[in-house]
Symmetry: C2
Subunit: 77 residues, 2 copies
């Protein structure tokens, strides 16, 4: 199975969700990307359908928005 | 590890998220509860912190709200 990608922006809601996701699906099965720090990946996240963070993009390409930390426009600032 | 519980209400957003969650964490690791049909479990979901469905309550007790299908007040009708 290819990896999921968990996009976050370092907010407290994001960090809490990150811990849950790693616990649930295993750290080897998910790449963690902080788009607040690695801004070169914001475009990739948007193309994957990410509208807010934290969000998990599954290997099948679905974007699951988890709780609500920040909108993409907040991240872009 | 004890099971997670995935609460949903049969909406299309819920069903799509259900498939993703089962794929990600494995069907043996999650109990699926349709609180639209099994209304006796609405109270339990609310006590677990579920504010909208679909939502995944982790073994550690955190409620992860996934995308947005329906609010609890919509489910209660």
């Amino acid at each position: 199975m290819s990896k999921s990608i968990f996009y976050h922006a370092g907010c407290s809601v994001c960090i809490s969700a990150e811990h849950d996701i790693i616990e649930l699906i295993g750290k080897d099965n998910v790449e963690i990307v902080n788009i607040g720090e690695d801004r070169t990946r914001i475009k990739e996240a948007e193309l994957a359908g990410v509208e807010s963070v934290p969000a998990l993009v599954t290997p099948t390409g679905n974007a699951l928005h988890i709780n609500f930390g920040a909108s993409m426009s907040d991240v872009k600032g």
